[in-house]
């Protein structure tokens, strides 16, 4: 029976994947151990928060969303940005890109998991999670933008899991993947990637009572910044894969990613400038949040250091990306990537979510800094996401280097990986 044989080889794929994902050198084990430890600290902090209430966070009725939703927004962007490898690979049929496109998709999977976790930890009643499940619960679709976001995020996760799983599995079997089974999904994922970040922006810009978010530029800005942070993160991952494994990384795709970042970073800065011009030149009620964010308001300066750090990092990162060194495998490129990733994390998070609440809708100023619980939980989510990313990359590298294959019965080597 063909189906039966398929099932057997799929089980062997899963078994070998589990095996490979837990095999490595001491560096690999240390890395995984540290990540697990941080994830455990985060899980504990979250469980305590559920028991004692959200009072464990520093959120208030005035600033009712904080670090969690900030991190959520960034992770959605990261997931959407992962697809920037797919567009050149498939739409322009760039063959060198085909081999590394899987890295972008694996990143997308990990980032979506992180963003979903960021929302779950923000719920006051996670025990009632089933109320969100269509059919059993009461899903307020299509009215609530949040339901749209749930649909697009889960859809994106499924699409990417399918593509990644299918490509790795067929390669594992030593077969050529059948384009019928993945190319349509790849094209779908391109549009879907844009939808996840657009819908996430609509969550905020659809609220008429929050002037700071209520701007049509929000969704395009989200996309532009995602197309910086996503590829920058991929560049970092590719560097780790190249140094830490036997998988060869061609310089072509990295160069293309740098080119994409150059364009997206400039567009992002241009839109930010346009937004700031409109706010500050016209003035009025819309200005209060931006004033608070950039210069402080009525003696409150909580976000000023954050946003200027972000502006500085984004500007410097962009400049570094424009140097010739960024096109080579250079420390410059690494620094530029780190600057842009961190800069956008701040800009999309502390610089966008928090000022939406300060001043409040009745112009009261209540400031916010994340509590220790919030930092622990967020670090835990990142650790879990990186754990997932590492395990998936480990499997992908093993499949690509034939360390893991259906035909060979040789014991997989225990060479280190990221």
């Amino acid at each position: 029976m063909n189906a039966q044989r398929e099932a057997v080889s799929y089980l062997r794929f899963l078994r070998q994947a589990l095996h490979v994902a837990t095999e490595g050198g001491w560096l690999f084990y240390t890395w995984m151990f540290v990540l697990t430890a941080i994830a455990l600290v985060g899980a504990n902090a979250w469980a305590v928060q559920v028991r004692d209430g959200m009072i464990r966070t520093n959120m208030t009725d005035h600033v009712s969303w904080g670090l969690y939703i900030a991190n959520f927004t960034f992770c959605v962007g990261l997931a959407a940005g992962g697809v920037m490898m797919v567009i050149p690979a498939y739409l322009y049929d760039d063959h060198e890109m085909h081999d590394v496109v899987i890295i972008g998709e694996i990143l997308a999977v990990a980032a979506i998991v992180m963003s979903t976790l960021s929302v779950i930890v923000d719920l006051g009643r996670p025990d009632r999670f089933w109320h969100l499940i269509p059919g059993i619960g009461k899903f307020n679709w299509p009215i609530s933008m949040l339901t749209w976001d749930i649909i697009v995020l889960n859809g994106y996760l499924l699409i990417n899991l399918h593509v990644v799983g299918y490509l790795l599995y067929t390669r594992f079997c030593g077969r050529k993947p059948n384009p019928k089974w993945y190319v349509p999904f790849v094209y779908l994922s391109v549009f879907w990637a844009i939808s996840i970040h657009t819908v996430t922006a609509f969550l905020y810009c659809g609220l008429g009572g929050r002037p700071f978010w209520n701007t049509a530029l929000l969704a395009p800005r989200f996309l532009a910044s995602a197309f910086v942070s996503g590829p920058a993160f991929i560049l970092l991952v590719m560097r780790v894969v190249r140094v830490g494994t036997e998988l060869p990384m061609h310089p072509g795709p990295s160069r293309l990613l740098v080119q994409i970042i150059r364009v997206a970073a400039v567009v992002n800065l241009l839109m930010l400038f346009s937004e700031l011009f409109t706010l500050f030149y016209a003035g009025g009620a819309h200005l209060a949040s931006a004033q608070y964010l950039f210069f402080g308001l009525h003696g409150h300066y909580g976000l000023v250091p954050w946003i200027w750090a972000a502006v500085f990092m984004n500007l410097l990162g962009t400049i570094l990306f424009f140097t010739p060194a960024a096109l080579e495998r250079s420390p410059t490129r690494i620094i530029a990537c780190v600057l842009c990733v961190v800069g956008i994390w701040i800009e999309k998070g502390m610089g966008l979510i928090i000022p939406g609440f300060i001043p409040s809708t009745l112009h009261e100023i209540v400031e916010y800094t994340p509590s220790l619980t919030e930092w622990k939980v967020t670090a835990g989510i990142w650790a879990f996401g990186l754990l997932l990313l590492t395990a998936m990359l480990r499997v992908a590298v093993a499949v690509f280097t034939k360390e893991m294959a259906l035909q060979s019965d040789r014991e997989p080597s225990t060479r280190a990986s990221p």
């Binding site: 504990n44 469980a47 009712s64 025990d127």
Partner: protein, 312 residues
């Protein structure tokens, strides 16, 4: 869960078995660590009943199921407080549309309304919660930027006027649109309510509200038993669970019984007018017809049912 210790040698078994054994051991340790880490979660769920967990949405309960729920909540409340609490269900009265109006010329900013709300609705005592915030405003405009909700001096102060703000019970409520699970909705008499047993606490409604009218239960509300208001209703002033949203309900447990809201009864100057706008002889109707009333943030299109006016 795949930590180190691979250099430990177990001499009897072969390389593959040894590694597998170590992996299994580490995985077990890892699972135990996870279980220990999320133990507080189980301490919390131990206090929750299965009936509560499986309870359907308020509007999907049959009359018999609703009675069971009310009975359970009543029993729980009596047990917790030792007082003769009754949790009832008040349905909207057909042919009634509530509206509220507030005379800014005579409001003196004493905050008796906020205090009455605090007591009537069994609000959390430590945080001094209330659905009403009173702003001390500067004469010369309606500018909240120059308003102050934290004044501590004799009222009324010179050259100031006072603006109490609570839920505007919008005809076009952004909070209801935002909710992903229909845990908040508008009833036929115009009151926007929350099913505290259905809300998941995502606080999207709180972000959506332009009037800062919604409150979240950041922890379990604490009210000393002797201060509990025992006349409670499912959709309004019963003790709220931890981690859910709540809001002003125009005291529906009173107003749907023909009484007036607690904030109105507490007002010493008679600045507040409440009633059924569909009743042509009502005082609220007279105010809306004869005074030059206005609503907050009219430009947002939320159509509040809460009106303000100046007398002179």
């Amino acid at each position: 869960m795949s930590e180190s210790k691979s250099k430990l040698s177990l001499p009897v078994v072969g390389e593959v078995d040894r590694r597998t054994a170590i992996k299994a051991g580490v995985a077990t340790l890892g699972l135990a660590a996870w279980a220990a880490a999320i133990k507080p979660w189980f301490e919390w769920t131990a206090e929750l009943s299965t009936e509560e967990f499986l309870q359907k949405h308020y509007r999907e309960l049959t009359p018999a199921q609703l009675q069971q729920v009310l009975q359970r909540l009543t029993e729980e409340a009596r047990e917790a407080t030792g007082k003769n609490v009754t949790v009832k269900d008040h349905k909207p009265i057909p042919g009634v549309q509530f509206a509220y109006a507030l005379n800014l010329s005579i409001c003196i900013g004493c905050r008796k309304c906020a205090e009455a709300c605090h007591i009537e609705n069994n609000h959390d005592r430590p945080s001094n919660q209330s659905y009403i915030r009173v702003f001390e405003m500067e004469k010369g405009g309606i500018n909240f930027e120059k308003g102050n909700a934290h004044y501590h001096h004799a009222v009324p102060a010179k050259d100031k006027y006072y603006m109490p703000v609570q839920c505007q019970q919008c005809e076009n409520p952004p909070c209801v649109t935002a909710c992903p699970i229909e845990a908040t909705w508008q009833e036929s008499d115009g009151i926007v309510v929350v099913d505290y047993n259905w809300c998941i606490g995502c606080r999207y409604c709180e972000a959506a509200c332009p009037y800062h009218a919604r409150r979240f239960n950041w922890e379990k509300p604490q009210v000393p038993p002797e201060e509990i208001n025992p006349n409670q209703s499912y959709l309004s002033n019963r003790l709220r669970p931890q981690g859910v949203m709540e809001k002003c309900t125009f005291c529906l447990h009173r107003t749907r019984e023909g009484k007036l809201p607690a904030c109105l009864e507490a007002c010493p100057t008679g600045a507040r007018v409440f009633g059924n706008v569909l009743d042509p002889d009502s005082e609220i109707r007279w105010v809306l017809e004869n005074k030059r009333v206005f609503v907050l943030k009219e430009e947002l299109g939320t159509k509040p049912r809460f009106y303000y006016f100046f007398d002179k």
